[in-house]
Symmetry: C2
Subunit: 218 residues, 2 copies
DNA sequence: ATCGCTACTGACACTAATGTATATATCTAA
DNA sequence: TTAGATATATACATTAGTGTCAGTAGCGAT
């Protein structure tokens, strides 16, 4: 009974990925959509079209749209974690502020972290800690990690602690802002804009190192 | 034929606002929704319920959901404009960096400007200049306005111009970031958090004034 | 080779949100 | 008081987007 309708046109030959690869491709496409058009642009059908699959496949891999978004969050969080720990292991940050800022800028921009964070922040009231991953807490912890790393093992006063935390906070804020609205703030063309941003970061790192290394005020 | 169904329960007595008041109430509610739950939370039916009206009334006043959002944008832009020009007229900003920052923080936070800007930025690729209002351009222009105001009428070198623009840029970025993810960065309770933020702003303004007033480097 | 697992698909059901049509109530003005 | 204008309501249409289901096809293992 109920004979299955045969498609009139032969459908394109099916490509079968491993589950892992499929998940990665889907996440990449979703990330791309988010970067291009914001949260509203994360549509299962669109993402599926980008990857070249049918949208139920996404649901097969992630369970639901929300599952996909959670996976997106989790991936970004882990990327940030790895990034930061690599950065901290590599060198004592204090003596090369520029590299720290550049690295931070890269993570915020190219990995699309700034957009994700901003999105979390907007949903914050209902921001649930998903499967053990609490993005806000992790960002906070990471910034504290950087603070302690900069301060090293030397004994330090409360004022100095605050000084360092303000410095890190400023750096994070600035790089976050740059990633999100840097384009808005600088009117120049693409090429010029890049060098301008580099100079801005260099200027900022100098400012920070100066201020933090020599707490001459109050 | 087709006799109109009479409502069984007497509906609440209708309150009739002026168009202006209605628009304002609706915009307020929409803004509130945006602040609470992010862009996705801007739902006509929910907003209507908040105001105490039926959702077609919103469509009557704004034409469409998109019209509502554009009105929201426009209102925020004008608020920012007014805010900034008032700030600039009031005093030469250079000698009181704190007030400038506080004012900026207020606009970003309480007026919900940061969220709107972030939202624009996310949709940026397709960000259309709506009915003569181009939010990114306006933000950019305003920051340039501040720059010129700070620099005053004195003759100034290119380096100094860049210095000032970097300073303003940093201030805007920091206040923008604070408004969006300030909560994430500071773990403390609400009371303590506020004073912490004030101290951060004070610190930053000092930093900026110092650096800009005395360009001793490079 | 063929067998089983599962990635994948097309068709469809369901929901929720926007938008439309038309009637009604309230305010202002004469 | 009446008349016009319009802010508002109810009911419905439409669409778009998520999620379900049952069947298909590619790949690895025996």
């Amino acid at each position: 009974m109920a004979e299955q309708k045969k498609p009139v046109v032969a459908s394109a030959p099916r490509r079968r990925r491993s589950a892992e690869v499929a998940r990665r491709e889907i996440l990449d496409a979703a990330q791309h959509r988010l970067d291009e058009g914001g949260p509203d642009a994360i549509r299962l059908q669109e993402i599926a079209r980008d990857v070249g699959i049918a949208h139920p496949t996404i649901l097969h891999h992630f369970g639901s749209r929300d599952g996909l978004i959670q996976a997106l969050d989790a991936r970004a969080i882990h990327a940030l974690s790895d990034d930061v720990s690599a950065m901290l292991q590599g060198r004592r940050a204090q003596d090369s502020g520029v590299e720290l800022l550049e690295r931070l800028a890269h993570t915020m921009n190219d990995l699309g972290l700034a957009r994700l964070i901003a999105w979390w922040a907007m949903r914050e009231p209902n921001a649930r800690a998903l499967e053990g991953i609490d993005p806000p807490a992790l960002v906070r912890n990471i910034s504290q990690l950087i603070c302690s790393q900069i301060q090293g093992d030397e004994a330090h006063s409360t004022e100095r602690e605050e000084l360092v935390s303000f410095g890190v906070r400023l750096a994070v804020m600035a790089m976050f802002g740059e990633a999100l609205i840097g384009d808005i703030m600088s009117p120049a063309g693409a090429e010029e804009r890049d060098t301008e941003r580099h100079r801005f970061r260099a200027w900022l790192s100098e400012l920070l190192v100066e201020k933090i290394a020599d707490p001459s005020d109050d």
